[in-house]
Amino acid sequence: MDDQKNIEKSPTVAAGSSSNGRGAGGRRVLLFAGRTAREILRDPLSFVFCLGVPLVMLVAMYALFSSMAPGGLFQLDSLTPGIAVFSGTFTMLYVTLLVSRDRTTWFLTRLYTSPMRNTDFVLGYAIPGILIGLCQVVICYLTAMVAGLITGSTDWISVRILPAIFCLLPVIVAYVFIGILFGSLFSDKAAPGLSSIVISAAGFLSGAWMPMETLAAGFRAFCAALPFYAAVRGGRTVLSGAVLTVGGFWRDVLVCTAYAVGMIILACLAFRFHARREAE
C-alpha cells in the first residue's frame, strides 16, 4: 500500500484530482473553446465564407436591386436579416468541418482518454461557434447601417439593432449545434455535403431574397415551420418597428428556439453516441 500512497501523492494525480472539480471543468471548456476558435479563425477561407460572401451579397443586392423594387425585399430593413440568417450557415459549415476532422485525425480519440467529459467537448465547440455567428450578425448589421447612412435610406438600425440581433440568437445556436450533430455522425467527406444542403435551404426557404407571398400557401406554411423563414421574419418585424405580437414575432422566436433546443439535444446525443462507438 505504500506504493499506492506514492501514487496518490504524485503531482500528476494530485493535479488530476483537482481537475475533476467544477472550476477545472470550466477551465477545460475555455481551453478547448479557445482552441476551436483558433482552428476556425486561422483558416483564411473562413473569413471569405463567413464574412466576405454575406457582405458582398448584402451590398451587391442592395446596390443592384433596391432601386428596382422600392419598399421591397432588397431594402436594407428586409435584406439585412435575411443575409444575417444566411451567413450563420457558414459558421455551421466550419463547426461541421472541425468536428468531423477531429474525429478523422483521431484528435478526439486522444482527448477521450483525458479528464474531459462529453459536455466539455460540446460546449468547447459550441461557445466559439455561437460567438462567431453573433459577430457575423453584428457585422452584417453594422455594414447595413453604414450603407443606410451613406444612402440615407434607413433610420432604424441605431435604435433597433440590439433586439434585431437578439432575435437571431436562437437560429445561430441551432446552426452551431447542427454543425456538431453532422460532425459527430458523418465523415469529413459526407458532413460538408449535408451542411451545404442546409446552406441551400437557408438561402431558398428563408425568404431572404425571394418574396414568400408569391408562393403557394402550403409551401409558405412549410417554410414558416422551419427556423430560416421564422428567423428572417422575426428580424424584419423588429426592424420595421411593428408591435411585437405573441402570434407574430414571438411565435417566430419560439419556432427558432424550439429548433435550437432540439438541435442541442440531438447534437449532445450524437456526440455521446460517437464517443461510445469510438470506445467500442
Partner: protein, 262 residues
C-alpha cells in the same frame, strides 16, 4: 502492490506497473458474438518498455482501449498504477496517455500551442503549461518548429509532436499505438531514438507491425493471436522458444502455431 509512480526521487523506478487479470472483451452484434480479447493476464513492470504484437484483429487495440478506460471490459480487470480500470477509470486517465495511430494533433495550432493545450486539459495552470511546453520542446528537440503550425510539419515531425503531446501530461504509463506508421525509414529511425529515450522514464506499451522496431526498443514483448496472449518474453526468449534467429521468424512461427498456448 508493486507499482510506483515517480515522484522525483531518482531511487524510485519511474512509471507505473500494469497488472492485467483475465481481461476479456466480447462484442455481440446482431446475434453474432466475437471475442476480441480472451482472458488476457499479464504484468508489466514500472518503467518497462513492453511491445504488444499481433496481426490485424489480434486484439491489441481493444486491449489498449480497455486499459485506457475507453472501453469497459466484459470480464476481468486491470490495475494501472494501482487504479482499477473498472472501478476507477477517471483516476486511470490521470496517469496515462494514449498516443493514437494517427498523429491526432490540432492542425491550425502551433507546436507550442498544441503542447500547452494538452497540459491545460490535463490539469496544469497557464504558467505550469508554458513551463512544461518549454521543457518538452527541448526534450523532444522541437525548438526549431515550436512556432510552426502543426499542419505545416512533415509526417515525422507531426509524430514527434504527437508523442510530445503525450509526454507533457506527465503520464506514468504511455500507450504508443503504431507510432511510426507510414513514416519513411529515416523518419522512423529518428523517432526510434526519441522513443528509446523514454525507456526507464515512463512505462511504455507499444503496439506496432514493424518487428524491427519492437526488437530495437522493447524490454519484453507479448504476441497476441485471436484475442489471446500466445507468447511472452524477451526477444531472445521468443527466438529460443521457436528455434529461430530473428524476431520476425519467431513471430511468424508463434502467430501461425496451431493451438499454441502461453
Amino acid at each position: 502492490m508493486t507499482e510506483v509512480k515517480h515522484n522525483g526521487d531518482p531511487a524510485l523506478p519511474r512509471g507505473a506497473a500494469i497488472d492485467i487479470a483475465g481481461l476479456t472483451k466480447v462484442y455481440r452484434t446482431g446475434g453474432k458474438t466475437t471475442v476480441a480479447v480472451d482472458g488476457l493476464t499479464l504484468s508489466i513492470k514500472a518503467g518497462e518498455f513492453f511491445s504488444l504484437l499481433g496481426v490485424n484483429g489480434a486484439g491489441k487495440t481493444t486491449t489498449i482501449k480497455m486499459l485506457s478506460g475507453l472501453s469497459a471490459p466484459t470480464e476481468g480487470d486491470a490495475t494501472l498504477g494501482g487504479f482499477s480500470v473498472c472501478k476507477q477509470p477517471l483516476a486511470v486517465r490521470q496517469i496515462i496517455h494514449v498516443s493514437p495511430q494517427n498523429t491526432a494533433v490540432a492542425l491550425n495550432l502551433t507546436v507550442k500551442e498544441n503542447l500547452e493545450l494538452m497540459a491545460g486539459l490535463w490539469g496544469k495552470n497557464g504558467k505550469e503549461s508554458r513551463a512544461a511546453a518549454d521543457r518538452v520542446i527541448r526534450q523532444m528537440e522541437l525548438t526549431k518548429v515550436a512556432d510552426d503550425r502543426a499542419k505545416t510539419l512533415s509526417g515525422g515531425w507531426q509524430r514527434r509532436l504527437s508523442i510530445a503531446m503525450a509526454l507533457i501530461t506527465d503520464p506514468a504509463i504511455l500507450f504508443l499505438d503504431e507510432p511510426t506508421l507510414g513514416l519513411d525509414v529515416l523518419a522512423r529511425r529518428e523517432l526510434w531514438t526519441v522513443i528509446s529515450a523514454l525507456k526507464g522514464q515512463v512505462t511504455v506499451v507499444l503496439t506496432t507491425h514493424y518487428l524491427e522496431e519492437a526488437e530495437a526498443l522493447s524490454d519484453r514483448l507479448g504476441i497476441m493471436v485471436g484475442g489471446k496472449l500466445r507468447a511472452l518474453g524477451t526477444v531472445a526468449e521468443l527466438c529460443a522458444r521457436t528455434g529461430t534467429e530473428k524476431l520476425e521468424d519467431a513471430f511468424v512461427a508463434l502467430a501461425t502455431e496451431k493451438g499454441g498456448t502461453l
